[in-house]
Amino acid sequence: MDRRAITWLARCSVRVVPAERRDWAEAVWAEAGEVPARRRLPWVTAGLWLVAKEAGMFRRIGYWLGMAALAVGAAGVVSLVWRGTSVAPGYKSVSLPAAVAGSGVYIDPRTTGSYRTLAIATVVLLAALPWLARRRGVFGPVGDSVAARVLRVVGCGAICVLVLVLARLAQSLGEDLAGAGATFPAVGPIVMAVITAYLTVFLAVGTRRWSPRWATRLSVEMRLLIGIAAVAPGFVLFLLDPAWWLITAYLLGIFAMTARGSRITPATLVFGAGAGIAGGLIWYASVSTEGIFLHANPWLVPVVAVVVFAAPGMAGAAAAWCTPAQDDAEAVRRECTRQGFAAGALTGAAAALLITISVLGTMVVDHLQFGPHSTEIYLFAALFGPPLGTVLGIIGGTAVADHRSRARPKGLPAQAPG
């Protein structure tokens, strides 16, 4: 590698390095000319590696690849929902495989508007994700731990898969998913109130930045007004589509849990998500065979029930056990309860999401229709999974908190975490 090539590489690479690191990149290139010719190539290669690392290029490449995947996903949902060939006045055919294409499954055009709402909401949601992820505050940027990063990516990926599955299901089975609220109009506002209250409690418990200093100086009425103003967009979204309100709530939950300002420890994220995935898989494996497996082995029914329902409690207990030592018994109890709360919520959410995606995905793949309200049933599971997990997680967390409080005399000095 001659000096002109080195100079050219140096000029190009140094430009992409942040200003505070530019001296170092220039230093590598300045030395390259002095390195003996036979060692120059490894020196330059390692220098380029350093430049790429310091410029955060791998993260940038990952970010843009993620954005491209989101754009492709959005385009896929839109085309899936918009596509359709007119086969008769007032009807649209669905794109089913040839084997079942002649089975006469049609989409009623009255639902087409709902599908289009679904598509628009998806695009809005996917467009808002990067903004939400990078903004400094309750929902971002992502925490430093590997667990937070992995959970955020996997969680968002799972939500995108759920969106695709719902869109596909809506198209191929003709279910009016977007109008799910119309099926149970009376419970719609209750559902929204449950989600809003739950999300509010979750944000208050789990994040450091939920109560900024300026907010504490405001009157209760003013805080209430701000709260209503903040919830209003959610209400509009809910009127458009309750399923989308639920999906948005899940996304906000994932972002709040994995944000840098979150009080939830990486161990809690690992235990919560791990227990949720395990519980969801066990549940799906037991039920996906239409109960035949459990019917043949009835003794497994209580085992599966105990394992699935004990998962949030165990996750809460494990998370509380790994909570860093605190100054006094009260702080230990508070922190254990918080981590138990978060681990239980995460377990319930992960299990509900996994079960919803896998069951609805199976319906899409096998072209099954379990009943007119089957989709809503799973959306209800997604609604009540996190609160149920939270209750069990708190029980697990407080049990461990009691144990740790008794084991640790009050006033013992704190230990450094980790």
């Binding site: 690191r21 170092w24 230093a27 300045a30 030395e31 002095e34 390692a46 220098g47």
Partner: protein, 111 residues
Amino acid sequence: VPRDRVFSEQTLSVLAALSALPQRWHHGYGIARETGLKSGTLYPVLIRLADRGLLEACWEDDQPAGRPRRHLYRLTTDGLASAREALAERPAQGAVSRRRPVAGRIVPSET
């Protein structure tokens, strides 16, 4: 200097090279020759040491003929004290940990 730091093997070798002649300014390729480290390992070590205030860096004042100006490095007072302390406690040659050391990483000691 706090006693809550341990250095990786690569960092120790860089500290050894720099503390051998603490008043002299060293350049990257010279340190690489002394320590046997490649640039991809050496520079991250130097960057982390500088970030922690253990190393000072500057460019050569004059433009030498026939080669670019060098980036020069020297341990700070804190850096020299840390280096001497860490090198005094350095495990005997051959008793190096089997774990893959992370270049330039400063981790809390187990004490």
